[in-house]
Structure formats: C-alpha cells, structure tokens
Amino acid sequence: MDIFDLIGPIMVGPSSSHTAGAVRIGLACRRILGEEVAEADITLSGSFAATGRGHGTDKAIVAGLLGMAPDDVRVPDSFSYAQEKGLLFSFAFGDIPLAHPNTARLVLKGERGAEADIEAASLGGGRIEIRRLGDMSLRFSAEQPTLIIRNEDRPGNVADVSRILSEGKINIATFQVNRNSRGGEAVMVIECDTPPDETLLRRIRALPGILRAVYVSQE
C-alpha cells in the first residue's frame, strides 16, 4: 500500500471499482491487444451488470479501450469519442459463471487484425486483475509492468526469456507459466519491477518458439 492510495487516485467518479477500475480494465485490454481497438463486444457480469450503467462502467471501459486514463475528464463522453475514432462497440449484460462479482468479458478486434478474448475483474479501490486470456486462465494485476508471452510449450523458452530480461537488468517480481496441454501452446505472465525497453521486447519476440509478446505497462 502506498500513501497515494489514501490521498488518491485522482479519478473520474463515482466509484473506484466500477468506474476507475473499469477504465483500467479497458486500458489493460487495449495494451494486451497491442494495437488500436476497432471492434469490442463487451459483456458485463455480476455487480457490473446490476449497477454498471449507474456508475458509468460502460463509458469507463470504452474510455480505457480508447487509451484514456482513469483521471481523463473525457471518460463520461467516451461513446462520442469512440464514434469519432471509428471504434464499434456493443454491450451485453449476463452472468459469467464462477466469475468475480465485478467482471467484464471483452472480445476485441484490432485495426490491423489482432484479436483478443479477455476476462477481467475489478477487485476494489481501482485495482484490477486479468483472469482469462483466450483459453488460458491466468491472474495478473496489470499494476506492474507486465510481459505476456505466448509460446510453444517446449524446453528452453522460459530460460531464454529470463536470460534476456536478466541481461537487460530487469528484475522479475512474479513469474507464472500456464499451458493448455503438453507440447501445445503456453502463456508466460511476467511482472517486472521496471519496464523492459523496445530492444528487449524485440529480442524476446525473435526467440524461436515465441509466438507473441505483449507488454502491458501501468500508466
């Protein structure tokens, strides 16, 4: 906990979980997609579905998808900015089984063709957690610089990635590895103390067996 969790965050109201957290979910999903969002089909579940409209959760998520921060005064008008930028979005309300009470599912298409299917939860106080990415269950807060790496499940990938990070003097805070099946695809979720630079990301992307590397930063 930080003193700026007591005086702060500076945010557009009315709710740290249903508004500020929702903007952060949109932002995190945009960064996971890795390009401008062209289409977004969003499902609000649980308390997000019940009271989301009254808290501006819908506007907040769209604002985040457009790259706005939780303190951006344009958040309440995000729908008209979306129209301006050509972002098509839809909202559905329904229960996602076994999900956290404040959960949103975002199915995204990028303007250069990237696709992502993400489930994220707002935990309170503006903190969020990505809970599912495609068919991978995972948990990361997006509160630290985070690398999400999709790779072929074979020996050496984890060692290669951590070697490159260590050469770049990046300290790893947490390291998760998830996979679907042996020899299939796996996802590494690496939270770092400091952000890796473009060169490091390029080196990781160039490794054999690495299918995709996305960097999620925190501002």
């Binding site: 969790d5 005086i7 500076i10 009315p14 501006g56 005064v73």
Partner: protein, 291 residues
C-alpha cells in the same frame, strides 16, 4: 507489514526526531515506493491541485445519471451566502463544499479519492475553507495531506477503507479521521492531539453502515460527506482543546475493524440493507433499473 501500522508509531516518530512528522511520512513513503522526495511532493501537490480544480469545476445545473443527485451544493452555498445560518459562515462553507464534491463525484467529474471516491468530499471540504480563512500557504496544505495519508494508512492497515469490507465507518469514518488529523496539524497541534482527533472522529462514526440506494454512490453517500466533514471539525476542536480520547486510537481502529466484521453483508455496500432497503429506495431501484 505496511509502512505505518500504528498511531502509536506515528506519535513516537514525532517525539524521536527533529524532522516534522509530515516530512518523515514523506521521506519514508517515497523510499518505500522507489520515488524521490521531490517526485512525491509533486504528486501530492497534484492531488491538492486536483481537489481545488474539482471544487471549481462544480456545475450547479448538473445531475447524475440516476437524477437523484444534483444542485444541493449550490442550494447550500446560496443559503450560507444569505448570512443567516445557525453555525455561521465557515461551517456553512464546509457543508456546502462537501456536498459539492460529492455531487461532482456522482456526476462523473474528476475528483481525488480520499481515501475513496465515495468519501472524496470530506478532505477538501475542511481544507479549502480553512486555507481561505487562514491564508494557509500551499506547502502547509500539502504537509497536511501527508499527515492525513499517514494516519489513513494506519486505518487501512489495521482495519479497512472499503465499504464492502467494513461499512461506511471505513469510508466516511476514515476520511473524517484523516481530515481531523490534517486540521489539528494545520492549527498547530502535535501528534498526540492528532491521535486523539483520529480516535474521537472514528468513535463518533463507529458502526455506520454502507447502504447505497440502488447500489449507486449517491444516496446517502453525498450528504454523509457533509457529516464526515462536520465530525472532523468537532474532533479536531476537542483535541486542540486538550481533550484526550480515553481509548487509544489504535484500539479504536481495531474496534472499528471488529465492528465491520460483525456487520451483515446486507449493510456492506450491497445496496440491500439500511436506507437502501426502504420502500422508497426499492421503488426507485425498480424504476431505474426497470425490473
């Protein structure tokens, strides 16, 4: 263990060092977060600026999406301006400021959570009128925010600042205690007096439930910001008068957590108990959400 885990610790920090308490809070927290003291000061200054800007940004004509909230801060301001209040100009402006900020939050303006968005009106409601009447320099207001954050962190660590966890006593109650400590600091009090102010403020809000109508941060949240600000004034005045809390602040905070744990989930931000369960609130919820 968090950086500040007991009010006793804050009192000792003041007694054992020549550095002012706010400065010690600044230095310790900056080091913990890996930023420089200058960066921390800049960030706290930005929070103060955002509070001032949010207050100036108040729009009397605006109402929230539900239409339950809007215009009351202006109503209060006009009433105070007529000069015929019971409590006088300063207190009138505190009440008006708290309601204005609560309305800004409900209307999706940019605010500073202190410690939460729902309780964002308490701190600026006492700080800004105080600063106007005492020509308080900006640096002193920033110092007061460090004091508030230090005591707030103790409450967040030992108890909670979440209505879903411990009811409104943890949100408006904590905001009120933080504001009381800040006021004591601004008026020249010491850490022992801040500690008493925190204890008194929390005791007076003990047991307050979180019962938002239709689950929205609107009713009764906005008006409770005014209650929290008034309670902060009352606690700070008592502490500055030399009145001590008979129960140490840390024990009051622990009691607040215990009360939160005893609260039914219906009274912890679910919108199913308290005034949220009143016939009028239920009717409103059904109309608004169409079920």
């Amino acid at each position: 263990m968090a950086l500040f885990y007991s009010v006793r610790q804050l009192e000792e920090m003041e007694m054992q060092s020549a550095l002012p308490l706010w400065r010690q809070i600044l230095l310790a927290s900056a080091e913990e977060s890996g930023i420089t003291p200058e960066q921390s000061l800049e960030k706290m200054g930005a929070a103060l600026d955002a509070m001032i800007a949010a207050d100036a940004d108040y729009d009397p004509g605006q109402s929230s999406h539900s239409r339950l909230i809007g215009g009351d801060g202006e109503r209060m301001r006009r009433y105070v301006a007529q000069g015929e209040t019971i409590c006088g100009d300063f207190v009138g402006r505190v009440i008006s400021g708290a309601i204005r900020m609560g309305e800004c939050n409900a209307c999706m303006h940019r605010i500073v959570a202190a410690p939460t968005a729902g309780a964002c009106g308490v701190m600026p409601a006492v700080l800004l009128p105080y600063a106007a009447d005492h020509a308080t320099p900006r640096e002193e207001l920033i110092a007061a925010l460090y004091i508030a954050s230090g005591f707030g962190m103790v409450i967040a660590t030992r108890a909670s600042i979440s209505g879903a966890e411990a009811g409104c006593q943890a949100e408006i109650g904590t905001a009120s205690a933080m504001a009381a400590a800040a006021l004591v600091y601004l008026h020249g009090g010491n850490a022992q007096q801040m500690s008493s102010a925190v204890a008194i403020a929390l005791k007076n809000m003990m047991g307050l439930v979180c019962d938002p109508v239709a689950g929205l941060v609107e009713v009764p949240c906005v008006k409770r910001n005014a209650a929290g600000a008034m309670n902060a004034l009352c606690a700070a005045e008592m502490a500055l008068a030399g009145i001590r809390s008979r129960i140490p602040a840390d024990e009051v905070i622990d009691a607040m957590r215990a009360v939160g744990a005893l609260m039914s989930p219906l009274l912890r931000e679910t919108g199913e108990g308290g005034v949220a369960a009143s016939p009028t609130a239920v009717r409103f919820r059904n109309d608004f959400f169409g079920k």
